[in-house]
């Protein structure tokens, strides 16, 4: 009896040790055989990743998921969305629960180098700001000494605000919540004097207030928050696919290719148009994808400008300016690496 036990245990241990080899399966193969992409998004943030009453997800971040699905599977709708809080997101990614994250996640040095993840680009250049109720009578963040802050737990904002108050010799109390909904409720109930987050999220949360006109966003921007999609470290092919899917949207805007004129550009466009859309060259094959990978992105999702305007820009309730997120050709810093 005992001898058998020992034998079983030793074998198990041996198997486990042997398993110490590479744990990285090819995500591309998994996604293809599954037929859907699992994409980690927020639990609900207007303009970025939000579910409507029919269960359909939309937003700037959702469009990145959709463009990857379009590139890989030829179908932008073949995405299974997994809502994640700020605290859950990296564990969900690293453990393989999702194939990628597109959840307004700030690209920081620490995250990039110590969490086992890779940032595949930036789809929104942002910075942390403050939102207060108008009746508080505050017009600058420097007047917030001794105030309470509503913050979402597990965000880079938690770190940014600590720096800002320390730098200015002011004190504050951080009231942290798990989801943006709770954070907003905390702010509305008066638990805190101000809500702090990335500027774009403040705009999104403000839209969700029972009376948006009561709240103002203060002028100070206290940090750099480049937001972008994230993949697990150790799967370079998948990393490339996500990186270039985002680039394809940005490049399409630079080239003036839109979902409306994409067929025309493929047939009659310049060499760069044709290279992007798969009429010429090997770009798709180099990624391990079909040649029409970027065509599918532009056709089904649109270029970056279309996605921006529709979700967070002037055609949306958020009404955000392009600002830094304008194409470099229009004075912004949104820039695709060379598509050749």
């Amino acid at each position: 009896m005992r001898k058998k036990d020992i034998l079983a245990i030793t074998t198990l241990a041996a198997t486990l040790t042997a398993g110490a080899a590479s744990v990285q399966a090819a995500t591309l193969d998994d996604v293809k055989s599954r037929g859907t992409l699992t994409c980690g998004v927020s639990t609900g943030l207007a303009g970025f990743s939000e579910k409507d009453e029919n269960g359909k997800w939309s937003g700037l971040d959702v469009d990145v998921c959709r463009s990857v699905a379009a590139a890989v599977l030829g179908d932008a709708d073949a995405v299974q969305y997994k809502p994640l809080t700020a605290k859950e997101r990296f564990t969900a990614l690293v453990s393989g629960e999702v194939d990628m994250l597109s959840r307004n996640t700030t690209w920081t040095h620490t995250r990039d180098t110590s969490l086992g993840i890779n940032f595949a680009g930036t789809n929104f250049y942002d910075g942390a700001s403050f939102m207060v109720m108008k009746d508080l009578g505050v017009s600058s963040a420097l007047e917030l000494d001794g105030a309470n802050a509503c913050i979402q737990a597990g965000t880079s904002t938690e770190l940014a605000i600590a720096d800002f108050f320390r730098q200015h010799g002011m004190s504050y109390k951080a009231v942290t919540f798990d989801t943006s909904d709770q954070t907003r409720q905390g702010f509305e109930s008066g638990r805190c004097d101000f809500l702090t987050s990335d500027g774009s999220q403040l705009a999104a949360l403000r839209v969700g207030l029972s009376n948006p006109a009561n709240a103002v966003i203060l002028p100070e921007v206290i940090s750099k928050e480049p937001l972008g999609p994230v993949v697990r470290q150790g799967d370079d092919q998948w990393f490339n696919i996500v990186k270039w899917s985002l680039n394809a949207m940005i490049e399409a805007e630079e080239q003036g290719v839109t979902s409306a004129n994409v067929d025309d550009k493929l047939a009659n466009g310049n060499p760069a148009n044709k290279r992007l859309l798969g009429g010429e060259g090997e770009l798709g094959a180099n990624l391990g994808l079909e040649s029409n990978w970027a065509y599918n992105i532009v056709k089904q999702v649109g270029n970056y400008a279309e996605s921006f305007d529709r979700n967070v820009g002037m055609d949306s309730p958020l009404k955000l300016e392009r600002g830094l997120n304008a194409s470099w050709k229009n004075g912004g810093i949104m820039y695709s690496q060379a598509m050749r």
Partner: protein
């Protein structure tokens, strides 16, 4: 049990065969048993070693940082409530302690009030008053059957969040304030001779034990009961008060006051703590009430009748005859309820109370990515806390156990 028996048997067998002196050492059952045990320990050791090194190797390969060096690194974020001084530049190690103390605080408060509620409503089941009996049933059935998380949300978002804002606080004599940000209480700040009062309080508490012993002896000798409870209360309040008067009131009272955005000074009880403590107490209290009811029901009715025939009043029958015997059933149940309460306190994260789970497995894990280390440390803490509870409750159980004559 079984194992012990076999060992005993093999031992005696060994003793018998030992006389022959002919058996080889590997036929000696004792030595063989020892050999297999050593093999098992080595096997298990190797097993855990492989698992751990495997995990570490895999994490290294995927670029995840490992090790405990993060404990001495500066955290860089603030914690809402801390029983020890804390600021954003302090380390993750200190955050661990802050979280641990906050867990102990909310668990301690929860256990105290859950026990109180549990005993009150558990005994109320047997009241002769219909209304009281019904109240007990309604209490237990309501709170036992609603998921705890929902109750936490209820107290936090539906009750405490609707309190007025900081500038419109409810106040009691301009000394106690209540608003959406918490309960603000005045604080006693002692000066020079304040220690005399503190010593007096200590003496009073020690005095309770002496008093109880003395009262018990006296009752055994003379049959005269002594009102220990009232005397104890009088002592605990009276002695320190006397000390304060004699030393000329050596303290000042610090009142909370509105400065800018918030009330400062005095003692602040944050709503996250209140909501969690209330939810835990009320929820666990309903289970304890059931345990108390089960305990009381386990006492044969003959005991009550016997007590009645001795002329004891109903209240006395409960407190002197029934409950002490029922404790033998109640205490083991209490043990597991207390342990559940400690584990349930991790729901803190839902409303942002900075307990260990929230600040460590939540935020620290998220900021450092060191899942294995943070989760391991946290598991150990909950394990140890529950072991301590178990140990204390077992001691208590032995104390109330039936002493057979």
């Amino acid at each position: 049990m079984f194992k012990q028996k076999t060992i005993e048997q093999t031992k005696s067998a060994a003793r018998k065969s030992g006389g022959n002196g002919s058996a080889a050492f590997y036929n000696n059952p004792n030595i063989r048993a020892l050999f297999y045990q050593i093999l098992l320990v080595l096997g298990l050791g190797y097993f855990f070693y492989s698992v751990i090194s495997n995990v570490l190797a895999n994490m290294e390969a995927t670029g995840i940082k490992t090790g405990f060096s993060f404990l001495t690194a500066s955290a860089g974020y603030d914690v809402l409530m801390s029983l020890i001084p804390f600021e954003a530049t302090d380390t993750y190690g200190r955050i661990f302690i802050v979280g641990f103390l906050n867990t102990l605080l909310v668990s301690g408060i929860g256990i105290f009030f859950a026990t109180l509620l549990g005993f009150v409503f558990g005994v109320a089941y047997f009241s002769h008053n219909w209304l009281v009996r019904k109240a007990a049933t309604v209490y237990v059935e309501t709170f036992r059957n609603i998921p705890l998380l929902l109750q936490v949300f209820f107290w936090y978002f539906a009750v405490l969040s609707t309190l007025p804002g900081a500038r419109q606080s409810l106040s009691l004599g301009e000394a106690i304030f209540l608003n959406v940000r918490g309960l603000y209480l005045p604080k006693m700040v002692g000066s020079d001779l304040f220690w005399v009062a503190e010593v007096a309080l200590g003496v009073a508490i020690a005095g309770i034990f002496v008093l109880r012993r003395w009262a018990k002896k006296r009752q055994e000798l003379t049959g005269q009961p002594f009102p220990v409870l009232y005397a104890s209360i009088a002592m605990v309040i009276g002695l320190p008060l006397l000390a304060l008067i004699v030393t000329g009131m050596p303290f000042t009272v610090e009142y909370p006051a509105l400065k800018g955005f918030n009330y400062f000074g005095g003692i602040t009880v944050i709503p996250e703590l209140m909501a969690l403590a209330i939810a835990l107490s009320v929820y666990t209290g309903s289970f304890i009430a059931e345990a108390v009811r089960a305990g009381v029901q386990s006492i044969p009715h003959g005991q009550t009748e016997a007590a009645r025939s001795l002329g004891l009043k109903e209240k006395k029958i409960m407190s002197l005859i029934i409950v002490p015997q029922a404790m033998r059933v109640i205490v083991p149940l209490l043990n597991s309820e207390y342990q559940s309460l400690v584990k349930n306190s991790t729901l803190a994260a839902a409303i942002g109370y900075p307990d260990l789970f929230n600040v460590f497995v939540g935020t620290a894990l998220n900021q450092t990515g060191q899942a294995i280390e943070t989760i391991f440390m946290t598991i150990v803490v909950y394990f140890v806390v529950n072991m301590v509870i178990s140990f204390l409750m077992n001691r208590f159980n032995n104390a109330v156990a039936l002493v057979s004559r």
